[in-house]
C-alpha cells in the first residue's frame, strides 16, 4: 500500500464532496430535524422505563445518529460508481495506486462523513434538545467510530455485489431501512414485536444503540461499551472479509445519472 497514492485519492474525493455537498448537508441537517420532531414521542417511553428527568433526546439523538449513518451507506458505493460513469475508473487502475489505495482513499471520506454527522448531532443536541450524556464522551466517540467503520465496510460489500448504480440504490435504501428500524434506532427494541426483538442482535446497529444508550442514559464508560464495540468490529471484519472476497476491480459497473 502506498500512503501517498491513498492520500491523493482521499484528497480528490474530498474535492468532489466539496463540489457537491448536498449529501453532507442532508445527513447532518435531517437527523437534527427528525430528532427535534421525535423527542417528545420518546419522552414518555423513557419515563415509563424509569429514566428520571428524561427529555426524550436520550433516545431520539442516538436513534437518529445511528439511523442516518445507516441511511448513508450508499455514499461510499457511489464514490466507486461515479468513476465508472465518468470513465476515470480505468485511469485510476492504470495509475500507481494499488487497489487497496483506491479503496481506502474512496471509503475514508465516507467514514469521516458518518463520524462527523453523528458527532455533530450529539454535540448540537446538548444545547438544542437539552441532551445530557451521563457517561463518558470518549466511550461515545469510540462507539460511533466503530459504527462508522462497520457501516462503510458493509457499504463496500454492497458495492462489490451491485453491478449497476440502480442496484446499489436499492440495496442501500433497503439495507439502510432494515439496519435503522430492526436495529432499534427508530423504535426502541423493547417496543418491537417479539420476532423483531429476537432478530435485532444480528444487526450491527443494535449493538451501536446498546453502546450509545449505555453511555447516554446509564453513565457508561469505555469498559461498558467494550462489548458493543467488539461486536461492531466483529461485523466490520466479516463485511470487510466478504467484500475482499467478492470485489472485482476489473469488473465493469454501470452508472446511470
Amino acid at each position: 500500500m502506498s500512503p501517498r497514492a491513498c492520500l491523493a485519492v482521499f484528497r480528490h474525493e474530498l474535492r468532489v464532496l466539496r463540489r457537491d455537498p448536498s449529501t453532507a448537508v442532508f445527513v447532518i441537517v435531517m437527523p437534527l430535524v427528525l430528532a427535534a420532531l421525535m423527542q417528545r414521542l420518546f419522552k414518555g417511553t423513557l419515563v415509563a422505563q424509569g429514566v428520571t428527568g428524561a427529555t426524550g433526546a436520550e433516545f431520539a439523538v442516538p436513534g437518529m445518529a445511528v439511523s442516518f449513518a445507516a441511511f448513508g451507506i450508499g455514499y461510499a458505493g457511489f464514490a466507486f460508481f461515479r468513476d465508472h460513469g465518468w470513465g476515470t475508473w480505468e485511469r485510476l487502475r492504470a495509475s500507481q495506486a494499488s487497489s487497496l489505495d483506491i479503496l481506502v482513499g474512496k471509503v475514508a471520506p465516507a467514514v469521516g462523513l458518518s463520524l462527523i454527522q453523528m458527532v455533530v448531532l450529539f454535540i448540537l443536541a446538548v444545547p438544542l434538545f437539552g441532551l445530557s450524556v451521563t457517561g463518558s464522551w470518549p466511550a461515545l466517540l469510540v462507539t460511533v467510530f466503530a459504527l462508522a467503520l462497520c457501516l462503510n465496510a458493509f457499504a463496500v460489500l454492497l458495492t462489490a455485489v451491485a453491478r449497476t448504480s440502480q442496484q446499489l440504490t436499492v440495496f442501500a435504501s433497503v439495507g439502510g431501512l432494515v439496519l435503522a428500524t430492526l436495529g432499534g434506532a427508530f423504535v426502541p427494541v423493547e417496543a418491537m414485536p417479539g420476532w423483531a426483538q429476537a432478530g435485532s442482535p444480528v444487526l450491527p446497529t443494535y449493538w451501536a444503540m446498546q453502546g450509545l444508550l449505555d453511555v447516554v442514559i446509564d453513565g457508561g464508560g469505555l469498559l461498558d461499551v467494550a462489548g458493543p464495540v467488539a461486536a461492531l468490529l466483529g461485523f466490520t471484519a466479516v463485511f470487510a472479509g466478504l467484500a475482499a472476497w467478492r470485489f472485482r476491480f476489473d469488473e465493469p459497473k454501470v452508472y446511470w445519472g
Partner: protein, 311 residues
C-alpha cells in the same frame, strides 16, 4: 521501452489477440492501426496492466509488467479510448490528481500541471470545471492527464476519437514532440491519415493478429500500388485483363484493378466490361497510400468504423 511477445487474449469464445508481438523503442512512435474490434484496445489495456493476457509476455522498460504491474505502471501514461475526466472539479484538480497519483508533489507538481496545460492550450482554462469545457477541450484534458508525470511509455488509445480538426492537429503535434524528447509512444488509431501525418512506424492489426509492420513509406512501397475501383449496380462482371500486372478482383458489386497507370487502365476496363457498362455506377482511382497498402494486405477497403466479426 516496450516489448510484447506472443500475446493471446480471449473473451469467452471471442478471440481478441492471437499471438501479438510488438516493440516500441524510446523516441519511437508506433501506430497501432486497425478497424474497430481489431484488438487494439485489448492490447493497450494489457500493456497498461488493466487486463491479464491468457498467454504471452509484456516488458516495459525492462520490467516484467505482468509480474510487477505497479513498477511497470510508474513508467506508463495511459489515455484510454473513452473520455475519462472528473467533470465536477476543475481542470487543474483533474491534472493534480493524476500528478499526485504518479508521485509528484509541491512545486514540481504545480510546474508540470502548468506545462502540460500550456502544451495542450488549456492554461487559460485551468480553473474552469472540466464539465464546462467543449468536446475538444475535454479530449485535450483527457490526454493531458496521461502526460502530467512525463511517462517514458505513452499509451494513447484512439486519442483523437471524436476530436475536432484543431484538437486532432494539436494532439498529433504534441505526440511528435514527446517522441522527440525520448518518450516511446504507442498510438492506437483507426485514422489512416493521422498515421501518415505522424510519420510513425505502423503495426497493422486485424482480427487480433499483426498483419504487417514497418514505416508508412515502406508499407506503401511494398504493398500500396494504385487501384481502380469500378462499382456496378448488382454483381461485378468477370473480366480478363490483357495488360501486364495482377488480375482484377471481384468483391460483390466492386471490381478492383491493381495498376501503376490508372488512366490507361480505366480506358481498357471500359472496353473489357462491354455491355455491363450500362450497370456501371462509379469509377474511383485509389492512389498508392496506406489505404491501398491496407487493401493489398487485408483484401478489403479500409473502413475505420467497421466492426470485425471474430470467431
Amino acid at each position: 521501452m516496450l516489448r510484447v511477445e506472443g500475446l493471446h487474449k480471449s473473451y469467452g469464445r471471442v478471440v481478441a489477440l492471437r499471438g501479438v508481438d510488438l516493440e516500441v523503442s524510446p523516441g519511437e512512435i508506433v501506430s497501432l492501426l486497425g478497424p474497430n474490434g481489431a484488438g487494439k484496445s485489448t492490447l493497450v489495456s494489457i500493456v497498461a496492466g488493466l487486463r491479464r493476457p491468457d498467454a504471452g509476455t509484456v516488458f516495459v522498460g525492462g520490467v516484467d509488467a505482468l509480474a510487477r504491474p505497479k513498477a511497470a505502471r510508474s513508467l506508463i501514461g495511459l489515455a484510454p479510448q473513452d473520455l475519462g475526466i472528473y467533470p465536477i472539479v476543475t481542470v487543474r484538480q483533474n491534472l493534480t490528481l493524476f500528478g499526485e497519483l504518479a508521485g509528484l508533489r509541491g512545486r514540481e507538481l504545480r510546474t508540470r500541471v502548468q506545462e502540460v496545460a500550456e502544451a495542450l492550450l488549456l492554461d487559460d482554462l485551468l480553473d474552469r470545471l472540466a464539465g464546462e469545457l467543449s468536446g475538444g477541450q475535454k479530449r485535450r484534458l483527457h490526454t493531458a492527464a496521461a502526460l502530467v508525470h512525463r511517462p517514458r511509455l505513452l499509451l494513447l488509445d484512439e486519442a483523437t476519437a471524436g476530436a475536432d480538426v484543431e484538437t486532432r492537429a494539436q494532439l498529433v503535434a504534441l505526440v511528435r514532440e514527446l517522441a522527440g524528447e525520448g518518450s516511446a509512444v504507442l498510438y492506437s488509431t483507426h485514422y489512416l491519415q493521422e498515421v501518415e501525418t505522424l510519420g510513425a512506424s505502423v503495426v497493422l492489426i486485424d482480427k487480433g493478429s499483426v498483419l504487417a509492420r514497418g514505416a508508412v513509406a515502406e508499407l506503401v512501397a511494398r504493398h500500396g500500388g494504385s487501384v481502380v475501383e469500378l462499382r456496378f449496380d448488382g454483381e461485378a462482371p468477370v473480366i480478363t485483363r490483357d495488360r501486364p500486372g495482377r488480375q482484377p478482383e471481384r468483391d460483390g458489386n466492386l471490381l478492383r484493378i491493381p495498376t501503376a497507370e490508372p488512366g490507361p487502365e480505366i480506358a481498357a476496363a471500359m472496353t473489357a466490361i462491354g455491355a455491363h457498362a450500362a450497370r456501371l455506377q462509379s469509377v474511383e482511382v485509389v492512389r498508392a497510400n496506406l489505404e491501398t497498402a491496407y487493401l493489398a494486405i487485408t483484401g478489403r477497403r479500409y473502413k475505420p468504423g467497421e466492426e470485425i466479426e471474430r470467431a
